[in-house]
Amino acid sequence: MATDIAMPQLGESVTEGTITKWLKEPGDSVSKYEPLCEVATDKVNAEVPATVSGKVTEIVTEEGKTVAVGEVICRVEEEGKEKDKAAAPAEKAQTDQKVTKPDVPKDSMKRRYSPAVLRLAQEHDIDLEQVEGTGKGGRITRKDLLKLIESGEMVPVQEKASPISETKAEPASVAQPNEQKTAIQREEGDEEVPLTNVRKTIAQRMVQSKHEAPHAWTMIQADVTGLVKLRNKHKDAFKKREGISLTYMPFFIKAVVDSLKEFPYLNSAWGVDRIILKKRINISIAVATEDALYVPVIHDADEKSVLGLAKAIHHLAEKTRSGTLTMDDLSGGTFTVNNTGSFGSIASQPIINHPQAAILSMESIVKQPVIKDEMIAVRDLVNLCLSLDHRILDGLMAGRFLQQVKKRLEAYSPDTPF
């Protein structure tokens, strides 16, 4: 390939020149530095020298034409050079110019919001978690939001926070929690356990509840000596008759359900701009397996006797352990009772089962010396711990509710029919 001869820079501020006369024609030989043509510019008249020795192959710019500095005016075939030599440096220069872009991990910028993006999201009630970003590292750009706003397909913030989500399935089917990389340093011998879907769901729901609902906590103590005696009196016959163990759980649930009837705000949900008082009383009960915690639901618990509750609990526990819970079993809870006493706890601060208003845990029943009728007596005491959504409930109502539960539990005696 021939060497391009360009219009040279013939002085400061000179940007173009006019070819006044060609001194060589195609086919003529030239030696390096020999004049090829005469050029006139705004400031000077000059000759353009050949930059290589060889043969002129082509005149690109005719006499009288004006061309910019750097533009090709003719071509010279270099002596003894391979035809394609000239192409190589040009190509190399091009690859050198390519900007090497640093690898930006996908989604690394997903939650980095610019002032403009945050402002638009607020003004238009857009849930940024639901928006796909087209910027570097998955960043949501201002343009992404403007397009979304224009299209009218927005994901409003309220929809996500509204109690409608209550009808969604509980553990198994909620959106994936944050998959951000951990900052924890790993040391030799540490083991990494990948998250199961259930674990991810638990994590997400716990975070959501703690994040959304301001938790308040309160605890009272109930004297259940009478209930303990009642159970001891009946448990063997009950087991024989019904085929299942008689636990304290149905008695507690019964006391809770009856008290919920008096205090409907405990059986409610937060609806952003309103409180929704639930008509049905569906008690979620926490059932632990080796690796997870499920909260199946006793629907319409207020329609059941202690026996009916005992059977329902047994049934749900069985299903949980055998992994045969249905979506129905997991849906619709309005209040949660948690039997933390079953593993020896004497006090706990449960996390509310979103979007319910409160959760009650019953702790271990422990024999303790107490003052009764001015005498020291040995009594069976139990702590009842309540976490409540302080948006919905204040301490007064929660306290009154607990007093009713306590009263009901303490009313049992060995002779109470159930």
Binding site: S13, S114, P115, A116, G135, K136, T141, R142
Partner: protein
């Protein structure tokens, strides 16, 4: 409309203003018989004579000092610094006298003078013929600083500068002199000082620039349009007084601001623009404000390859805009 070069627009404006107002005169090194080293005052001495086209000694402090005195006396001097680099001996006169005259005399006196100075690189001018000096003056209240990028603006703004009642520094990018051509009306017109102009409407990145780099941005915008990147371009035209409103409006169009100038980055005027944006358009921002400027090295290298490295060009501008668009 006639298409003329950037430098011809300078000459036309001078000639027309000298014809319009006989108080106007030009002075500087070689502006008379030689017609200026860049030919900006070509032919003026023939029309207006040596009393209105003064060849001065090689003493920039005197050129500025004489202009200040003449302007206070009621004349309209248009001084030429042969190269902006040579303005430094005149800085004392300009900053301590011209800029402060109206203020210190409680409005009794003023300095209606213009100092023209060719600045900028890319013409193989090396150390003493390539500097951008605007940052020396932008922080000095009392001076107006005009930096046009097109022949139309050169002519209109130079006329406004000559008619202005206060000192104006009129910086002409010497690489633009013969490179940039454009339509200029035959009839008398002016372009107001202190008004920026939107050169191109866009939605992805806002480029704020002036002078030669403005043209690089326009070229880059054409390239990037093929890639689907839409560039909004604002030509400041005047640095002082600054058209803040136009800047804020332009940034609001895209949420992304890129400031481009040839003057080196540290202390350059881009920092001031960036501060204005950060202070007054924070909630419009979708990306950090960025600057693409000359490097922080003492001066323009003589070596052609190093000069190329120093100078901005359409390719560097294209890459910077693309990078910001992708953010």
């Amino acid at each position: 409309m006639a298409v003329i070069s950037y430098i011809d627009a300078v000459t036309q404006a001078l000639r027309e203003e000298m014809q319009r107002d006989e108080r106007v005169f030009v002075l500087g090194e070689d502006v008379g018989v030689r017609g200026g080293v860049f030919r900006a005052t070509d032919g003026l001495i023939d029309t207006f004579g040596p009393e209105r086209v003064l060849d001065t000694p090689l003493t920039e402090s005197a050129i500025a000092g004489v202009s200040i005195g003449a302007s206070v006396y009621g004349k309209r001097p248009v001084a030429e610094m042969q190269f902006a680099d040579f303005i430094l001996p005149a800085v004392n006169q300009i900053i301590s006298e011209a800029a402060k005259m109206r203020y210190r005399s409680n409005n009794a006196w003023n300095c209606p003078l213009v100092i023209r100075a060719p600045y900028g690189g890319g013409v193989h001018g090396a150390l003493y013929h390539s500097q951008s000096v605007e940052k020396i003056f932008t922080g000095v209240p009392g001076l107006k600083i005009v930096m046009p990028s097109t022949p139309y603006d050169v002519k209109g703004l130079l006329k406004s500068s000559i008619r202005d009642e206060d000192p104006v520094l009129f910086f002409e990018h010497k690489r633009c002199y013969r490179l940039i051509k454009g339509e200029v009306p035959e009839e008398d017109y002016t372009v107001p000082i202190g008004k920026a102009e939107v050169k191109r409407e866009g939605t992805d990145v806002t480029v704020i620039s002036y002078g030669l780099t403005l043209h690089f941005a326009q070229k880059a915008a054409e390239e990037l349009e093929k890639e689907g990147i839409s560039v909004h371009i604002l030509d400041l035209r005047t640095l002082v007084p600054l058209d803040k409103e136009a800047i804020l409006e332009a940034v609001a169009k895209t949420g992304k601001g890129l400031i481009i100038h040839e003057d080196n980055v540290t202390g350059g005027f881009g920092g001031e623009i960036s501060a204005v944006i950060a202070e007054e358009a924070f909630f419009e921002l979708d990306a950090p404000v960025r600057r693409l400027c000359g490097p922080d090295v003492p001066s323009m290298p003589y070596s052609p390859s190093l000069e190329k490295e120093f100078m901005l060009n359409p390719e560097k501008v294209t890459n910077a805009i693309r990078d910001l668009a992708e953010f």
